[in-house]
């Protein structure tokens, strides 16, 4: 909200240096967003001049030649094009040396052969007003030669940010009240004439026959009738008040309602009484398919969730927001109906949002205006209308409904305030803070505090503690020690596991990245065609590239790799941890993900050859992370990812299923076409871990120690011929199972390892050889060759009987 300090001075004396307010207001809870300086106008060498004579220009019909007294020894000669003046008028005169706004310099010159020693100015030319129709005739005969600066001191405008709870501060009087509380200075409320007589029904001779409220969203509605007004432009003082805060003057009546809105915070609406059909005002919900053309000349479709002020025929105003062109006050208006009302804030907010129409009026109604302030604001406006636009107000007014809020009493003790604040408070500090805010206080610990109706949000003792702290301040709270007992809570498992993954990946040379969670439909569809992207779509996205939540961290990481490759940055290993979203059998799920990606080679040439990253390199990196995270591989086998975007066929694999195992991982090369589309050159190796947070919610049990043999092992190697498409791991694990079963209770078998793979020459087409090494140990002795050979023979027999594998001879 813009506040002109000149205007504010009408209600309260401001400090000598008004910049002080920029520091004071924030400490009361009103942020000063920026201090908007007025124009950089310069009124040096512009003085009051009196026109002594006005003669026609000998060479130009439209110009006149004037002799002007400017307080120098001799009057000066000035050629002028304006016509709205006569000898004896006093006007601003820019003398040689003056620099008008816009950079125009005044010099002695000749106009059509006649010398001119200055320029008589309009208000607009000096930026002291908006009037550009002729010279600015100065009122009240100011002394000739006086610098104009003295009459038009520069105003300062502050932009205030009023918090959502302080609707009362959306007004000059509200802000003045706060300043008054701070400086403990009285502020003055404009005096108004006596209110007329209140009626529930329209009296005889009124402009209206009936006023009625349907529905719950208007609690109080008042109308006043004024007859015989003359609509005209507003006087300068009123125009300049409105212009100082960026409002455009319209006409005297409309300007007055706007002025009073800003002054009191109570929006008013003036109807042309002649345009109200059927002499009826109804406050009702809009009908289906009803529409209205608002004052901004936009036709708006209404619906029954919106409240309107209607006459017998049609809506005239979207209640609390904006009027229609149909009941506009214009130059033909002579009789007015003035409305002052209280609407339910939520209702006005809802409609303003729905229509995308936010006005000074809707802003105030939706922040809860003072339901007891209707009459004051209306009478203030009426006084101004009668003064400026003439006419007279009918002595009776109609006000229906009941105020939804009145003064209320809160009881509070010193002990309660101290319990919240944590420091000692003197009883009079409490009561004086509340009194300064205009609350009336009776009693003494407990106090009964009466909250005026304009403070909608002060309802509970805790609110009074806040008001106390606002006025008292918290300066004394310095250098206090932190006092609190120890806790026995651990960090959340999801947080810890991501920290461990981060540390491990950084140790493996990966750089952490941070990507947007919002992605495009196109990306989601191409990277995750396996589920319907629509499930992850937002209802109200802001931009077309941020329409869905991410299903994976990988596309972002590929973007990052491509970006850095393009910029020749040496960044080829990157990772991210974060939340991802998938659709599943029972609805969408949010999971934790850890993903990393890497080019096979650096982006720049290297002085030395080195081995490129391959599938087994990235698999090792993955196993290392998983180990560091304290997680075991999910049960099950590595499955080739074939035809499953975003992975490259035959070079990627997956283990686990997050829906079933709460953990899954995919490792391999990302689909070459997808990464190419993101402009990454070269294959990208990646791994993605998905974790259902529920997996991490349990505390892990302590590991219990298993004994191991201290005797040397006996080693036996063998090679098995198997079908080429048999996974090596199944051969290994089958052999391990057989070896363990043969070892029985006699001896232990170390994990069986694969030490060679062979296919090709000397082998049958479609077969391969898997060579494994077995190590046997007994817990209590060195194994004899005989028993090892016996065991080995049994193993060979079992392979022959139980598996499709053949011993390679």
């Amino acid at each position: 909200m813009k506040i002109s300090l000149d205007w504010l001075r009408d209600y309260i004396e401001l400090p000598d240096n008004p910049d002080e307010l920029i520091d004071v207001l924030p400490m009361l809870g009103i942020e000063v967003e920026e201090s908007e300086e007025q124009s950089s106008r310069n009124l040096d060498h512009v003085v009051v001049g009196e026109i002594l004579s006005k003669e026609p220009h000998p060479e130009a019909d439209r110009l006149s030649v004037c002799s002007v007294e400017v307080g120098k020894e001799e009057p000066v000669n000035i050629v002028c094009g304006a016509t709205n003046f006569k000898p004896g008028d006093r006007v601003p005169v820019a003398l040689p040396g003056a620099k008008l706004p816009g950079g125009f310099k005044i010099k002695k010159s000749k106009l059509r052969g006649v010398p001119s020693e200055g320029m008589m100015c309009s208000a607009k030319e000096l930026e002291i007003g908006t009037d550009d129709q002729g010279l600015c005739i100065l009122p009240d005969n100011p002394k000739v030669g006086t610098p104009i600066e003295q009459f038009y001191s520069e105003d300062k405008v502050l932009e205030l940010e009023i918090t959502a709870n302080r609707g009362d501060c959306l007004s000059y009087l509200g802000v003045a009240r706060e300043i008054s509380a701070y400086y403990q200075k009285e502020f003055s409320t404009p005096k108004i004439s006596d209110l007329g007589e209140q009626h529930q029904e329209c009296p005889d001779g009124y402009f209206l026959k009936s006023v009625s409220i349907e529905g719950q969203d208007c609690s109080r509605y008042g109308v006043w009738s004024i007859q015989g007004v003359t609509i005209a432009p507003s006087p300068d003082w009123l125009k300049s008040r409105l212009e100082s805060v960026g409002l455009r003057p319209i006409n005297n009546v409309v300007d007055i309602t706007n002025f009073v809105l800003l002054e009191t915070g109570q929006p008013l609406h003036a109807f042309d009484a002649a345009k109200i059909k059927g002499e009826t005002i109804q406050i009702r919900q809009a009908k289906e398919n009803e529409s209205i053309t608002t004052l901004d000349d936009v036709k708006r479709k209404l619906d029954p969730s919106m409240m309107v002020i209607a006459d017998a025929d049609k809506p005239l105003v979207i209640a609390g927001i904006m009027g229609s062109v149909d009941a506009e006050v214009d130059t033909s208006t002579t009789n007015l109906v003035l409305e002052s009302a209280w609407f339910r804030p939520g209702s006005i907010r809802h409609t303003a949002r729905k229509l995308g129409l936010h006005t000074d009026s809707s802003q105030r109604f939706s922040r809860d205006v003072d339901p007891q302030g209707l009459e004051y604001a209306a009478q203030r406006a009426i006084d101004l209308i009668l003064e400026i636009a003439g006419g007279q107000c009918l002595p009776k007014y109609v006000c229906i409904g009941n105020a939804p809020r009145e003064e209320r009493k809160i009881e509070i003790t010193q002990a309660y305030a101290e319990k919240i604040c944590g420091f000692d408070i003197q009883p009079d500090q409490l009561s004086s803070a509340w009194k300064r805010l205009g609350f009336s206080v009776t009693g003494n610990n407990p106090w009964q505090v009466i909250i005026p109706s304009f403070r909608s949000e002060v309802e509970r003792p805790i609110d009074l503690v806040e008001e106390f702290l606002r006025i008292h301040g918290t300066k004394e709270l310095q250098n206090n020690p932190v006092v609190c007992p120890s806790t026995s809570r651990e960090n959340d498992g999801t947080y810890e596991v991501c920290q461990k993954a981060t540390d491990n990946l950084v140790g493996q040379g990966f750089q952490e990245a941070c990507n947007y969670s919002l992605r495009s439909a196109e990306e989601l569809n191409s990277w995750h065609p396996s589920f319907e992207a629509i499930n992850l779509a937002l209802l109200n996205p802001l931009t077309s590239d941020h329409t869905h939540v991410r299903a994976s961290l990988l596309p972002g990481l590929v973007d990052n790799l491509a970006h850095n490759q393009k910029n020749l940055n040496d960044l080829t290993r990157i990772f991210e941890t974060g939340r991802i979203f998938r659709s599943g059998p029972r609805g969408n799920v949010e999971w934790v993900s850890i993903a990393f990606a890497s080019f096979a080679e650096p982006n720049s040439r290297q002085w030395k050859n080195h081995s490129k990253l391959d599938f087994f390199g990235i698999k090792n990196q993955f196993l290392s992370v998983l180990h560091a995270m304290g997680l075991a591989l999910p049960k099950g086998n590595w499955e080739n990812l074939t035809g499953l975007a975003p992975w490259q066929n035959d070079y990627s694999a997956k283990i686990g299923d997050c829906h079933r195992n709460k953990l899954e991982a995919s490792v391999g090369i990302l689909d070459l076409q997808l990464t190419k589309k993101k402009e990454a050159k070269g294959p990208i190796f990646a791994a993605e871990i998905l974790i259902d947070p529920i997996l991490l919610s349990k505390r892990k049990k302590a590991v219990s120690f298993t004994r191991f043999s201290s005797f040397p092992p006996a080693i036996k190697d063998l090679a098995l011929v198997v079908k080429r498409d048999t996974p090596a791991e199944s051969v290994r694990s089958d052999l391990e199972k057989i070896a363990i079963s043969v070892g029985g209770n006699q001896f232990e078998v170390d994990p069986v390892t694969i030490f060679d793979l062979f296919q090709g020459q000397g082998m049958d087409e479609g077969t391969k050889s898997v060579a494994c090494s077995m190590r046997f140990r007994a817990p209590d002795r060195t194994l004899s060759e005989k028993e090892v050979n016996q065991a080995f023979d049994t193993i060979l027999k079992k392979i022959d009987q139980d598996t499709p594998y053949e011993l390679r001879k």
Partner: protein
């Protein structure tokens, strides 16, 4: 004969000077000590000697054999040393860079988050997490911000369609799912799950329907803090935040609580700080975080008695802290992931 033996020892020494590999060595050994080797041949001639000469020859033969064997042993050791050295490859020029070179590092937002978490950890705050997808009730209503509350307008929220189903995000009733606009919703999830006394810090990602520019981002990060216990006061709030901010920005720091408004705290404050070491922002009041005493209504909503329990909560923007600490002027840098940006902070603390 003895001369022959001496000649063989000399010959062995001569041969071994030109032996440089294990194969050469084996061959040389065969030439001298093999079944047809020179020394073996001489040894065989013992039968031709007179009986009385045999012992002397035997001794000489043994001496010669020992000499030859020790020559071979020394030669073998030297060959192995050479082979070991050869296996080390080229001598290293330590000035050359490693290939490949991957330093790795953390993101500046992680650095700040970790620093915040570690400071609070020292005074007993542990990390709580909740989901980024929330429901309207947990994000707003439970935080004392009902549908028609003006504060609800100010946070432009990203919604999911009314019928969208989320298996692991519990609703209160049938309210819509949203992307959380603040981490304050973690307060509610935590207070439902755990009982006070409670001290948690909740770093996490938040979302607003904001146009991306130098100071706005479609998603951003906050850290929420919550302390609920008996007799928690405004004084405790200020003490904890003073401690935190001094740990983060240095000792020469001034702070102040400026009255403000959040629907879920009462009284509410913005925290301003003034420090001499913040570059362009030095020595002026800058807003750093919001805080306040947990509103009694919020406590009631999570079934705690506000007569028994009090608490405070605060919220801090991670990006904002990182920008102030490092003098970063555009929030978009955090999400572009350019190595020239990231590497400046990848080992920052």
């Amino acid at each position: 004969m003895e001369n022959d033996l001496q000649a063989i020892v000399t010959q062995t020494a001569a041969i071994l000077t030109s032996v440089s590999s294990r194969a050469d060595w084996e061959q040389a050994k065969a030439t001298i000590l093999g079944p047809n080797g020179n020394l073996t041949q001489v040894a065989k001639s013992i039968g031709k000697l007179a009986k009385e000469d045999r012992p002397a020859f035997g001794q000489a033969l043994n001496r010669a054999k020992k000499s030859v064997e020790s020559l071979f042993q020394a030669s073998l050791e030297s060959i192995e040393v050479q082979a070991d050295l050869a296996s080390l490859g080229e001598k290293a020029d330590p000035s050359l860079p490693p290939v490949p070179s991957h330093l790795g590092g953390t993101h500046p937002l992680t650095n700040v988050r970790r620093k915040v978490v570690s400071i609070f950890r020292k005074i007993g705050f542990t990390v709580a997490e909740a989901t980024e997808v929330e429901t309207e009730w947990f994000c707003f209503d439970a935080l004392n911000t009902p549908e028609d509350h003006p504060a609800r307008d100010e946070q432009d929220t990203l919604f999911f369609p009314k019928n969208s189903k989320w298996a692991n995000i519990a609703q209160k009733a049938k309210e819509a799912h949203v992307l959380r606009t603040h981490t304050s919703s973690v307060q509610i999830r935590t207070l439902f799950k755990e009982k006070p006394p409670l001290r948690v810090i909740a770093p996490g990602r938040c979302f607003r329907r904001d146009t991306v520019d130098a100071t706005h981002s479609a998603n951003f990060h906050q850290t929420e803090g919550l302390y609920v216990d008996k007799n928690v006061t405004v004084k405790d709030l200020k003490a904890v935040l003073d401690y935190f901010l001094k740990e983060l920005f240095g000792d020469k720091l001034e702070t102040r609580l400026r009255p403000s408004f959040f629907p879920f705290t009462e009284p509410s404050f913005e925290v301003d700080l003034k420090a001499p070491n913040l570059g362009k922002l030095s020595n002026k009041w800058i807003e750093i975080m919001g805080c306040g005493m947990v509103d009694p209504e919020v406590l009631k909503l999570v079934n705690l008695d506000p007569e028994e329990w009090t608490g405070f909560a605060f919220g801090l923007g991670i990006e904002r802290v990182a920008m102030i600490l490092h003098g970063i002027d555009d929030i978009r840098h955090f999400y572009q992931n350019d190595q020239r940006f990231l590497s400046q902070f990848s080992n920052a603390t």
